[in-house]
Structures are given as structure tokens and as C-alpha cells.
């Protein structure tokens, strides 16, 4: 018999594992490169967050058609994700944007609470993307979700203090955003640690550029982050969140165009391709927009033996 050498790595580091929600959901904990059971026999299952928005302007009709009336009510929408096997809800409070409905932080926090109450799932909550408003919104959300450990998204190099304090106050985690660069990712985690955020309370988003729009950068940045973490770089040993919903930004994802085939199926593969690249390069959690993509990603994680 030819003896094939088993090229098993001896990693010196592991990804932190942190509890979310009521404690029944855990993020992180990987001890080897993704889905290699021979490196990490009890590899954790990556988490899936179903995306819910509270303002439907400019949202893809393919997704709205699927959720129908439930898309009008974040709690109902989140419930649908739960039935489809999501582990978390990704709630984007777009309505807080002054150019949209300029909802107050309190109103927005009430929406977050209603989603948590309806589903019992942990949340990852985003504001509208304007740092000042987001800080106020996250303070309210943090209080409204006290006792229901969630992830406050997101903090950046030049605006992290208010949201981090809000997270610390109610024992939530923060999402540390950095821009497609391993050194920036590390620097962000150091900054948060120095500010007093515990490592178990940090998850990072190194920016997953979607298929056809920079995926090649993210795939390698993620791999480098994960390899460095497993090789012992403590400041990179925090779970990684990748936002596959960005696939919908890419023109060819869902446009109707002769010769490109059915847009419903195409958009699912576009998001799936983004998601699979994220998973294979080290994502511990994905944000997913399309229901068909969610089903495909779940099946792929099962087939890859994630959590088995």
C-alpha cells in the first residue's frame, strides 16, 4: 500500500468562542482551517443571520416577493428566517436615516426588542451608516436588548467609543469593521481591547467584498487573518463575520438581461458563491439576504460536515 502522508498542521492558536442570546447560540471556537475535520474534529458550525430591514426602499424585489407581507413587519420577517433555520437576525435600522424616515433611537430600539421577543434569536443590529445617529441608536438598542446578548454593528477606527461603551454597559458584543487589510483588522481589535472591550465581546468584519466586486481581495485577507490567528496571533483570534448580502450590490447578480438566465436562480448563486468563499476562507458567521441562498448555504454547511 502506498502510504500518503497526512499533512496535519499543529496550530498553536484557536478562535475565541462566545455565547449569544440566552446562551444557547455560540459564535467562534474554530481550532483549524475551515471544515477540515482532520485538523479540528469538533469544528463549530458557522452561524447564519437572516437579514431584515425596517425600510424597504431600494430593496431587491426578488427578496420582497418571497417574504410578501411579512417584509412590512420586522418581527414577522425575522420569524420567517427562524423557520428557515437561521441562528440570528441581522436587523438593519435603515429608517433611522434622516434622509429616510428619521426615526428616533427609541422607536428603533423598540423594533429591535420586538424582533428579539418574537423570535428569541440573538440579533446583530446595524444603524443607517451615519456615525452620529448610529451611536445614539445603538445606545438605545443596547438598553432595549439588555439581557439578550446581541452584536452591535459596527465600530470603526475613528468612531468606536460610544457604541463600545454601550456594548460594555449591557454585555453585548461589538462588530469591529476594518477595510480589507489584515493589519487594519488587528489594529481595530487592539484599539477595542485598549478601550476595555473584552476579547470575548469582539467579533470582526474585515469586509467581505462580493463575487465579481473584489471577492479575490477578501478571500485572501480572510485566509491570512485565519492563518495568523491559528498561528498564535491573539489579536486576530476573534470570530469573523462576513456579509454575503453585499452580493446584491453587484450588477449581474439580479439584473434581467438576455442570455444571463433566470435572475432568481442567478442571484441565489451569486450570494451563495460569496458565502462559500467567505466560509472557506474563515467566516464564523454569515449575513444572508436571499431565502434561496440561505437554503443552499445551509445545505452546503451540512454537506461540509460543519458541526458534525
Amino acid at each position: 500500500m502506498a502510504k500518503v502522508p497526512m499533512p496535519k498542521e499543529k496550530w498553536s492558536g484557536a478562535i475565541t468562542s462566545a455565547a449569544l442570546g440566552d446562551g444557547s447560540v455560540r459564535i467562534g471556537g474554530a481550532k483549524g482551517m475551515p471544515f477540515l475535520a482532520f485538523e479540528d474534529p469538533d469544528m463549530p458550525r458557522p452561524l447564519l443571520a437572516g437579514e431584515v430591514v425596517d425600510d424597504l426602499e431600494d430593496f431587491p424585489p426578488i427578496v420582497l416577493d418571497f417574504f410578501g407581507e411579512d417584509a412590512e413587519d420586522p418581527a414577522a420577517w425575522a420569524q420567517r428566517w427562524k423557520e428557515m433555520g437561521a441562528d440570528l437576525v441581522c436587523l438593519r435600522l435603515l429608517s433611522t436615516d434622516p434622509d429616510r424616515r428619521d426615526r428616533s433611537p427609541e422607536e428603533a430600539a423598540a423594533v429591535a426588542r420586538s424582533v428579539a421577543d418574537a423570535t428569541g434569536m440573538p440579533l446583530i443590529v446595524y444603524g443607517c451608516g451615519l456615525p452620529e445617529k448610529d451611536a445614539a441608536v445603538m445606545e438605545a438598542v443596547s438598553a432595549a436588548l439588555a439581557g439578550h446578548r446581541s452584536i452591535l454593528a459596527y465600530v470603526e477606527e475613528d468612531s468606536y467609543k460610544r457604541i463600545s461603551s454601550a456594548a460594555i454597559a449591557n454585555k453585548h458584543a461589538v462588530l469591529a469593521f476594518s477595510n480589507l487589510d489584515i493589519n487594519l483588522a488587528k489594529q481595530m481589535n487592539i484599539l477595542l481591547s485598549d478601550f476595555g472591550v473584552q476579547r470575548e465581546d469582539i467579533v470582526m468584519d474585515p469586509l467581505m467584498a462580493p463575487l465579481g466586486m473584489g471577492l479575490e481581495y477578501s478571500y485572501s485577507v480572510n485566509e491570512r487573518i485565519r492563518l495568523a490567528a491559528l498561528n498564535g496571533d491573539r489579536m486576530l483570534q476573534v470570530p469573523m463575520v462576513c456579509d454575503a448580502s453585499q452580493a446584491w450590490q453587484v450588477r449581474d447578480c439580479a439584473e434581467e438581461e438576455e442570455g444571463l438566465g433566470d435572475p432568481v436562480e442567478r442571484s441565489a448563486w451569486w450570494e451563495f458563491g460569496t458565502a462559500l468563499a467567505a466560509l472557506l476562507s474563515g467566516a464564523d458567521m454569515l449575513i444572508v439576504r436571499g431565502p434561496y441562498a440561505m437554503q443552499l448555504i445551509k445545505e452546503a454547511i451540512d454537506d461540509l460536515g460543519g458541526g458534525a
Binding site: V4, G212, M213, Y219, R251, D303, G305
Partner: protein
């Protein structure tokens, strides 16, 4: 690659100097640096030479299928992660065509795949290969189907049959086109490898276990078949990931020769096929064979391949310059954008759609997109003004300048710098047709 010490072991250590190097060790070091050849020492015996040559062969053998225009190469990868170095030979995609189809249908099916082609970032994406499948069990039928397909296009063929005798007529007829023969297993290895060696054709081996495969490889090589492609099975994503990873790592990191060949997967059709194909594309697959493939699947898949196989160090870019689109005149609007291929081709396609004549000034931003370049200080008003200057855009045109909506901030400064009205265009070039129509030029 053997190290200096490994070479040294095979040298007589007499330091006679006949190789032109003062000592055996000095010679060994030159060998390890690929600056000398073992042949230069007259005292290394044949047996040792073979061992050394074998261990200095590339860790993953390069295999060519097809001949001429449509031919492609597989393998030759030297790294596990693409940040270390660019992946070399992109995954090829083949679709199966059963030989039982009547001639007309066979051609129509093949043609439908040839027509499935996409333009993206200035590149053409299409199918690489046809896999003619001996569904009839009749060797003659396989031959005529293969000959018909070979006559239709320059794509290489793969010939799939149960045994050497089923493949022989087709393989002989197409020998000059260098088809890939599929697939030798434990039972058929000896006759298949003999056929491949006789005709000098590449051969695919299939075995679901790594050890079993290493044995097949040894057997094939024993018969003189060297150009091998390995099918380690496609029963689940987990197995594909694990087996491909172990095979590739064993070859690259442990200098194990028995699995140092391009890897392939037969994935079937539908959702399972797409999941496996995307996985194989990212994780060391050189060839993926589908039973069928639809455009809504092919485009995302081929985009993924393009992404994974680009050089991580160099973004794909176009030349700085002034590009006429839709036949502009002197007073047509003067738009500008970056030289990142993705940006340029997206914007260009949108302008073409509008049918409105414009000038498009491409600014060299070292291949960065609009916002990335702006954030990196490579796409400021001064860069745009310099690009206008270099192409004499302002002298040869008189229409309004239109800036990308994402860099609206620069419009004031740019207006000062160039002394001409600067309009802010839409954020997304997709809205350019409407914007240009409203300009009424």
C-alpha cells in the same frame, strides 16, 4: 525540490573537482539553487540520477489537453494559498454530451453550450471542454460523436468510457487533438494506461481513496502513462474539500509524488453540481465536468473562477487615455472614470446602452475603483486635471465635464483647475443613460 543536503547524500564526497566546483558540497548547493545539473558529476550513478530527477520534478505536474487554439493546461500549482503567489492554471469547465444523441441533436446541444458565453471586465467567459460520454456502450458510436464534436469547434474533448476497448477507436481518430481519456480504475488501469501511453494521451484515474489513487498512479506510470489527472470522487463537499486539500498539501508540503497531479471532479447537474463546482474552483480543482449547465449558473461560477485566479498583487486595469464612445463630436460631454477594469467596463457598457455619444477620460488610478482610489488619494481633482492634460482632452472637446457621483466633492476644485463647467453625474453608472438623455446634448 531536494535540498543541498539531499543532493550531497548522492555525491561521492571525494571533492575531485571535475564538475568545476571545488567540493562536492559546493556542487550540491549549486544543484539546490538550480544553477547546475547532476549530469555534470561523472560519478553519480543512473539509479541516483533518476531518484534526484524525480524529486526535482514540479510538485504538481502540468498536463495539457487539446491541441492548438482551444487547448489548456492544468496543474503546475506551487502554493496552497493565493496570497503567497498567483494560482496558475484556472479550473476548466466541461459539459457532458452523450453519444446516443442523433447527429443533429448532438450538434444542437453542443452549439447551445458554445453560444453560452459572457463578456465581463473585458474578458470572455465560456465552456472549456466537451466530455463525450459513451452512453451507448458502442465504441463506434463514441468515435463518430467525438469526431463530429471535434469538427465543430476547437475545444478539447474528454472521452468517457468503461474500458480501453470502448475508447480506442475514438482515441485513435482524435489522437492529434489530444483528448483526455476517462477513467481508469483498479480494474481497467492496465489496459487504459497502455492505451494512453501508446497514443501519448492524458489519462484520468478514479479512486475514492487517497491510498488507492496513489497505487493507480504508480501502476499508470509503470505502463509509461505520465500525463495523469486524478478524480478522487465527488460524493460530498466534505470529501472533495478533504481529499483535494490532503492531495495538494501532501504534494506541496511533504514532497509526496504519488498525488502530484491535477485534480478533477465529475459533479453531475443541478444544485449539488453547482455547490461542488464552486468548492472545487476554490479548493484545488483543475477540471469540473457537468452533466448540464445553465447560464444563470455558469455566469456566477465563471466569475468566481476569474476572481480566484487573478493575481492578488495586480488589479486588472486598462490604459489611461481619452476613449470615444458612440462616435462623439467636439461638443459631446466629457466623462471621466478610473482605470480599474471593473469600473471602466461597467461604465462603458452603460454609456453604450444609452447610444449617446460621449468622450470618456480614463484616469490612471493604479487599477483602483472610484471610491477606493479616492480614499487612497489617487483620484483627486489634480489627478483628473493631469489626465485631461496628457490626452489634450480640453483642447479637443468643448462639452461639459461629468464627474462620477461618488466623487461629487471634487467638482468645485476640478472646475477651478480645468476652467470648465463640471456636472455631477449619478452615483451608479447604471443611471447614466437617463442622466445623459436629460442633459439633452
Amino acid at each position: 525540490m531536494p535540498t543541498a543536503i539531499e543532493y550531497f547524500k548522492f555525491l561521492p564526497k571525494t571533492n575531485c573537482g571535475e564538475c568545476g566546483h571545488p567540493t562536492c558540497l559546493a556542487f550540491a548547493m549549486q544543484l539546490a539553487n538550480q544553477k547546475a545539473s547532476v549530469e555534470e558529476c561523472p560519478y553519480v550513478d543512473e539509479e541516483a540520477k533518476r531518484t534526484l530527477q524525480e524529486s526535482s520534478a514540479p510538485p504538481v505536474r502540468g498536463v495539457t489537453v487539446g491541441a492548438g487554439e482551444g487547448s489548456f493546461r492544468m496543474g503546475e500549482e506551487t502554493v496552497l494559498y493565493r496570497h503567497e503567489r498567483r494560482f496558475v492554471n484556472p479550473t476548466a469547465y466541461a459539459v457532458a454530451i452523450p453519444d446516443v444523441l442523433p447527429a443533429e441533436q448532438l450538434k444542437a446541444l453542443a452549439q447551445s453550450y458554445l453560444d453560452m458565453s459572457f463578456e465581463r471586465v473585458g474578458m470572455t467567459f465560456d465552456i472549456d471542454m466537451f466530455a463525450v460520454f459513451n452512453a451507448s456502450g458502442d465504441a463506434e458510436r463514441l468515435r463518430s460523436a467525438a469526431v463530429a464534436l471535434d469538427g465543430m469547434c476547437s475545444k478539447p474533448l474528454m472521452l468517457i468510457g468503461a474500458g480501453a476497448e470502448d475508447l480506442r477507436p475514438a482515441a485513435e481518430a482524435l489522437q492529434a487533438s489530444r483528448p483526455l481519456l476517462y477513467g481508469a480504475d483498479k480494474g481497467s488501469i492496465s489496459s487504459m494506461a497502455a492505451l494512453a501511453a501508446e497514443l501519448g494521451l492524458p489519462l484520468a484515474l478514479r479512486d475514492g481513496s487517497l491510498e488507492g489513487m496513489a497505487e493507480l498512479v504508480e501502476a499508470a506510470r509503470g505502463q509509461g502513462a505520465e500525463d495523469l489527472v486524478l478524480d478522487l470522487g465527488s460524493d460530498s463537499m466534505r470529501h472533495v474539500l478533504e481529499r483535494n486539500t490532503v492531495a495538494r498539501k501532501a504534494s506541496l508540503k511533504r514532497s509526496f509524488k504519488g498525488l502530484g497531479y491535477p485534480l478533477m471532479n465529475l459533479v453531475g447537474s443541478g444544485e449539488e453540481a453547482m455547490k461542488l463546482a464552486m468548492l472545487s474552483t476554490m479548493k484545488y480543482g483543475s477540471l469540473v465536468v457537468f452533466d448540464s449547465l445553465e447560464p444563470q449558473q455558469a455566469l456566477p461560477l465563471m466569475t468566481l473562477r476569474q476572481n480566484i485566479y487573478t493575481d492578488p498583487q495586480v488589479p486588472i486595469q486598462v490604459k489611461q487615455g481619452l476613449y470615444p464612445i458612440n462616435g462623439p463630436g467636439e461638443d459631446s460631454p466629457l466623462l471621466f472614470t478610473t482605470n480599474f477594469s471593473l469600473t471602466y467596463f461597467t461604465v462603458r457598457a452603460d454609456i453604450e446602452k444609452s447610444r449617446i455619444p460621449v468622450w470618456l477620460q480614463v484616469v490612471d488610478t493604479e487599477g483602483l475603483s472610484v471610491l477606493t482610489a479616492y480614499a487612497a488619494n489617487k483620484f483627486g481633482h489634480e489627478h483628473v486635471a493631469a489626465a485631461f492634460e496628457a490626452s489634450s482632452a480640453l483642447e479637443s472637446t468643448s462639452g461639459p465635464v461629468v464627474a462620477p457621483g461618488m466623487v461629487a466633492k471634487m467638482s468645485g476644485k476640478l472646475e477651478e483647475a480645468v476652467g470648465r463647467k463640471v456636472l455631477v453625474g449619478p452615483m451608479e453608472s447604471g443611471s447614466l443613460p437617463k442622466f445623459l438623455k436629460n442633459l439633452g446634448v
